[in-house]
Symmetry: C2
Amino acid sequence: MNFTKHLAAVESALASYNLPSNIPSLIDPIQYLLGIGGKRIRPVLTLLSHELFGGKANDVIHQALAIEVFHNFTLMHDDIMDAAPLRRGQATVHEKWDANVAILSGDGMMIQAYALLPKNQESKFVSLFHTFNKTAWEVCEGQALDMQFERRLDVTTEEYLEMIRLKTAVLLGCALELGAIAANASAEDCEHIRLFGEHVGLSFQLRDDYLDAFGDPEKFGKQVGGDILSDKKTYLYLHAMKSASDEDKKLLHDLHGQTHADKVDQVKGIFQRCGADQLILQQSEAYYNSAIQHLNALHADEAHKKPLLELAMWLLERQS
Amino acid sequence: MNFTKHLAAVESALASYNLPSNIPSLIDPIQYLLGIGGKRIRPVLTLLSHELFGGKANDVIHQALAIEVFHNFTLMHDDIMDAAPLRRGQATVHEKWDANVAILSGDGMMIQAYALLPKNQESKFVSLFHTFNKTAWEVCEGQALDMQFERRLDVTTEEYLEMIRLKTAVLLGCALELGAIAANASAEDCEHIRLFGEHVGLSFQLRDDYLDAFGDPEKFGKQVGGDILSDKKTYLYLHAMKSASDEDKKLLHDLHGQTHADKVDQVKGIFQRCGADQLILQQSEAYYNSAIQHLNALHADEAHKKPLLELAMWLLERQS
């Protein structure tokens, strides 16, 4: 793949990343979470975007780390809120230490993400900061909506799309935009590369929702049917709530809260009968096509667009 | 007092402070905590410091708010960690909503503190950012040490001083330094004003520890003896653990965990017999004198030093 060396650069930078403190309860959880893996998609996007616009990947390695550190901060705090026992197959920070440690280390992690932002890019810092800060707030808004939706019965598919855009997609867009800003890309090109990232993110998330119900258990990384068993209000579910036949709506309602093995197949049937399975794939593909259009539209060497296209395809295909 | 109008300017700015979102669960807790009061010492310090070095207070009102918003973020998260039911006599955010809301709103609050930092001071932003970011991390370090000390028996008075410096004093110093940076003060003067704030903060905290044990119940805002009843490892306690007679050390050890009314007087006796009560007052006074020296040493109009001196004295005297 065309981004293997970028991945290696990110891993190497993370391995030598030092926090300016010697207080174990503050820094050990940060090093632990950064050390247990992850796909490192976001920092690689920053490096690739910088090269796309004529820069050298190594010049934005700190900005790439800023995005990865921020992303992991959101995971540390989200895992407390979700009471999640595992992250990447390992104990979450609040399980391995406790919730207080995870709150405080997460706070420190966000501060360290900001600290990385100006490094080696002082002249672009103001612009990098504004993009990063705006995105950080949007990610919080996404998490707030996600939590709000758990308690609401009237969520629309449009609201769901906005929630996943904020919670997941904008950070991918931001990762790319930081690389572009540092390479002096035009405002128009910064917008195109950001929307490329956002739309790849939306396409990915919708496909992930589809595969969670209809994926091949042998290939899909998570438990197929997990969203259905936990009554998660995904795009599939919200569409069915609105568009299924009255009979199927009643069935969906009756199945809520149940946990028997049959439930997954019954709900999948509802999703198929109302066309939610096809609609979500079409929606995912539409975002993918839009992402490609933004990539095509921006002014940069075509050869350098290839690794970004490959990364997007790899991201979407590896799940199925 | 010479800073009444500055206080009014801060309250007015807070009253018209808008958050860029319409998600109630994210912004309501922020507005709530900012709205239930507080002394607003920190933002007033930013305004006074800016005037001290020849600036106009209104030009740093956003930076003053940044400090106040950051301070309240630390309160929101610290209150979760301490499981505190009340803040300023009102329900804490995690009590009024829940811990997840307080975690996420606190995160958003920190992001909004950063967002305020460049406003109307774009040309000074890099310097403002570095000072703010370094301080934000130090405040986390202070909280981490505070939590660590609860589980340790071998904390020294020197370690305690460093903990309160990080947890409380550096943000006062930062508030002042931001005002000075925005007014183009020299590096030397920035250091003097920062250390004035830090040492006032240390002096205040030590005096607060003293009054918690020996204050006049009629005048002291909190319950006198509260630290003793909860076995808090303050400067007084740590000095006694080290310097009391063997008999008193044993008594202090035996009283640990007890909650009877006699305990307060018995522990106060131990503190007095080993001289901890006098030592803490001397230590507090030494920091106050050092603060005054830093204020005297900096190059600015003497008349403008007066409100800062008055504020420091007001802060220290209002407790007793």
